[in-house]
Symmetry: C2
Subunit: 254 residues, 2 copies
């Protein structure tokens, strides 16, 4: 009864794992987590479930592959100047970004990816929980870690410091998917300002005895910018790294 979807013609391109993952990402983006079903996928790819199972072991593996593909694209960041104006003065020496800026860029890359693909927040948690030896964790870890090494953190702290940064980024990005996803779910026309207003008001109406702090802070929710706040958190961790180093070198000198 539902109107026949316009994609029923025989597919021309051969099926491949790549095409399947690509279709999965599209489906997740447009229809959300619950929108990714093998039935929707077979229709979109004009094939049967068996064909998909030939290329992919099961749904978990498909979700992992989709997550990995998006993360890989997100963390493969170059210096922003390089792509901003591709044809202008290619011989101009790239401004050597500080390691701190590099970390901010990588972090923002992931942050924005979660913003564009809200399902990524949950999947990141799920995939990371499933296998730290998978491809997703090392990818993120490596990208942040290389910049941490460029700070003058002693080698013995590399693992701890990088972990702290990665944890913050994942936590903050996950939490932010909230806002973008929820805001999107609201009736169109209700924009971000109205959305923050809703949250702020809800917080203001909490029980004064149980939630004094949250109530006190409700107003600050209203005007805040997610990216700005995200970066402020990064800077807090970076400041902590610097401060800890200084404390250590001071102690070492005595």
């Amino acid at each position: 009864m539902a109107t026949r979807t316009r994609r029923s013609q025989r597919r021309t391109e051969a099926l491949s794992r790549e095409r399947i993952v690509e279709a999965a990402v599209e489906l997740l983006d447009t229809a959300g987590e619950s929108g990714l079903t093998f039935r929707a996928l077979t229709e979109r790819l004009a094939t049967g479930p068996g064909a998909i199972y030939w290329h992919v072991a099961n749904k978990d593996e498909l979700l992992a592959a989709a997550t990995d593909a998006v993360v890989a694209a997100a963390v493969a960041v170059r210096a922003p100047a390089a792509e901003a104006l591709p044809s202008s003065a290619p011989e101009e020496p790239e401004p050597p970004a500080s390691p701190q800026d590099g970390i901010r860029t990588v972090a923002l890359g992931l942050f924005d990816a979660v913003d564009r693909h809200p399902w990524l927040a949950t999947q990141l948690a799920t995939q990371l929980a499933r296998s730290p030896w998978g491809t997703v964790t090392p990818r993120i870890f490596e990208s942040v870690g290389q910049r941490v090494r460029a700070l003058d953190v002693p080698e013995s702290s590399w693992f701890t410091v990088t972990s702290a940064l990665v944890h913050y980024v994942l936590g903050a990005a996950g939490q932010n998917a909230v806002n973008s996803a929820s805001a999107r779910a609201l009736p169109p026309g209700v924009d971000r300002t109205r959305f923050l207003d809703t949250v702020s008001t809800a917080w203001e109406e909490l029980d004064p005895d149980e939630y004094p702090f949250t109530r006190a802070v409700a107003d600050q929710v209203r005007g805040h910018d997610d990216r700005e706040q995200f970066l402020a958190g990064i800077d807090l961790v970076l400041a902590g790294i610097t401060a800890t180093q200084h404390r250590e070198s001071r102690t070492a000198q005595e």
Copy 2:
């Protein structure tokens, strides 16, 4: 054909939302996320699906309630001394914990909760993503925020600083569910040491060109303690808060 489960006798206690949520948490703990089904739940509660739907709107609400219950318990931390030796010297004045220690305690409370309930990592991401105006976010936020206020952070920074801490905690706790859950999934007898060994080895075998940092750090994975590393991250953020304040007051004095 399956052996009749021992719980088929008529239930004595009346059904209630509370009992349902309690059973859901048990099911999640023992059988994992995929183990929580309405069928398993009806069997355990010796009832039919309709009875459950009388108390709970749907599975999403049930998961939200389960998450909220566990988070509420985790975040309601008292000074550790109070419960350690309940009957010894009750009039002894409690050592006034510093706000920093308070933050560490709350954070560890959540960290350990995720450790005991690995499904919490995913659910935290999901629930937070679904509704920041729900009960889960304010609960965590409030508990951390009250301690942030006790540090001498200027009021204008309350929201940002508390958010940063909460994001770190959620990210780190989520990532850690990894380890406990994965370690649990391994054949019994393979303990944590062996598990870390596996991860470490996997990281050592990554492509040297693409993953130089992760490889360099692989060895540090082997001996590390999750809780210690988690706290080190908290301390990094706390150090960042202090450093930022000093910088600000220094600037203000000029």
